[in-house]
Amino acid sequence: MTIFAKASESEVTKAIVSQFSRDMEEFATMDVIIIGGGPSGLMAARDLALKGVKVLVVERNNYLGGGFWIGGFLMNTITVRAPAQKVLDELGIKYTAFSKALYCTPGPLACSKLIAAACEAGVKMLNMAQFDDLVMREKNRVGGVVINWTPVSALPRQITCVDPVAFESKLVIDATGHDAVIVRKLEERGLIKVPGFGAMWVEQSEDAVVEHSGLAHPGLIVIGMAVSTTFGLPRMGPTFGAMLLSGRKGAQVALQELKKMSK
């Protein structure tokens, strides 16, 4: 007697293809598409999904979590400053207090729990796919994204005639870190100007990222380190509280926008 039930090779293939096909059909029309599956993107996605919003996270890597796996200098300890430890509590992530202001948790634990929390909340994930362009609507409102498989960008140029596909959504969230690829795409088109002012309060850089998280263009919300690029804020150290709270703020802004749209 074998341990596993019988399933042929072709059945396995059909199961993968049919599920993927159903997923892709669903992804074609979403409420919110988040580009970037790092801590801010996952946090926003999880909060939105818990409110019943249809959310898709597009991640260019095979793995989700971005820099949240590793704390800094290839060391696994993730740090968050108060009050972000409350989010760790909420996600059931164990941590230790380094001081009354700073808390530590192992990266693999924190990251895997955040990914799990997002998935359990109902967030859809599409990894190994990367942002290629934007779908634009009337008055240059962002109305979705054009994406392609990540490996396509690594192919030799003469065989890269691989057309992308487009997903429509009510809102798009740029959670692509310092690259801010969506904001940069709008800038490339002359639709947005990255002001580049220098914030003058370095000690407050984490606060500034959270406070500036929000609408950056009609239909586009910016969160995480992409906020820093969009507004020219100073970079932060290897601490993640602002990523979690920026994601949460982005979700709140998205909910307000969705509410306005439904009126």
């Binding site: 947005i192 002012f197 309060w201 606060d207 500034a208 406070e211 609408l215 507004f231």
Partner: protein, 279 residues
């Protein structure tokens, strides 16, 4: 590090017995309440109204655009401002309606005061009015051709910057020397380590002494409205014009009191006694 505005609303000349404090962001309300409590200790008869929703109806494109046009990008270039963008306007709307904080955002102070004047209710004209903002207010100085951060811009309304309390008065001279040494050593700017090394010698964001310091600047605003003279030469009077954090802490935390002369003046002002208006 205050700045006097050259233009004043005509209605602000004359004795004001009451003070209206408009708290732009509710997050500062705790410090404002502490300050109001301390002002009541100075003069129990002083009527103080605290308002948190004064700008809540002004989250419009027009006002947001005006706020963006006040954002400074280079302290040495008088006319250079932030490039207007949808993203900045959206941020300004949130800041004005209290859902985002604008801490450390450099903003031209006199222009900001004029903008607030358009937004505050006309009924405020009969009171000494103070707007508490998170923005880092700055004013241009012709002496050295650059902007300087300020705690307060006097006028109507007066504007007190919560970021300015931290950033405008200079920290101890030794602090800057230590910071410079760290910069040169390549270790980097260890702000937290320096804060611990110079603990207590300057006000930091959300410092527990903020309410006390705020009370001192509110008193300066009240005196400005009534006498056009917000300052006192005594280093132990809350009206002392502090240029250093340690002077500010001495006047407004360690002393926390008015000198005898200004205490008497305050009591006369709020009781309707001798008119100290000086024009």
């Amino acid at each position: 590090m205050p700045s006097k505005s050259s233009r004043r609303c005509p209605s602000d000349v004359g004795r004001k017995k009451s003070l209206r404090v408009i708290c732009e962001n509710p997050a500062n309300l705790g410090f404002v309440r502490t300050a109001v409590g301390l002002l009541k200790d100075h003069a129990a008869q002083l009527k103080i109204t605290v308002q948190t929703d004064a700008f809540s109806d002004y989250g419009t494109d027009e006002i947001a655009e005006a706020l963006v046009s006040l954002r400074l990008t280079d302290a040495t270039k008088r006319e250079e401002r932030a490039i207007d963008s949808f993203a900045l306007r959206e941020f300004e709307k949130r800041a004005l309606t209290g859902s985002s904080r604008s801490r450390g955002v450099p903003c031209e102070g006199v222009g900001l005061m004029k903008l607030y004047l358009k937004l505050i209710p006309s009924s405020c004209a009969e009171e000494a009015c103070v707007v508490i903002t998170d923005r880092l207010i700055m004013t241009w100085s012709d002496d050295d051709l650059r902007y300087h951060a300020r705690v307060v811009v006097f006028g109507f309304p007066n504007v007190i910057s919560m970021s300015g309390l931290v950033e405008a008065p200079a920290r101890p001279r030794e602090y800057y020397l230590a910071k410079q040494a760290l910069d040169y050593s390549g270790i980097g700017v260890a702000d937290r380590a320096l804060s611990e090394q110079f603990s207590g010698r300057f006000i930091e964001a959300d410092d527990e002494r903020t309410g006390q310091v705020l009370a001192g600047y509110m008193l300066q605003c009240f005196f400005y409205h009534n006498t056009l003279k917000p300052f006192c030469r005594s280093k132990d009077c809350a009206l002392y014009n502090a240029h250093w954090q340690e002077e500010m802490i001495r006047a407004q935390v360690m002393s926390g009191k008015l000198c005898d002369r200004h205490q008497r003046m305050l009591e006369e002002m709020v009781s309707g006694g001798k008119d100290h208006q000086i024009v």
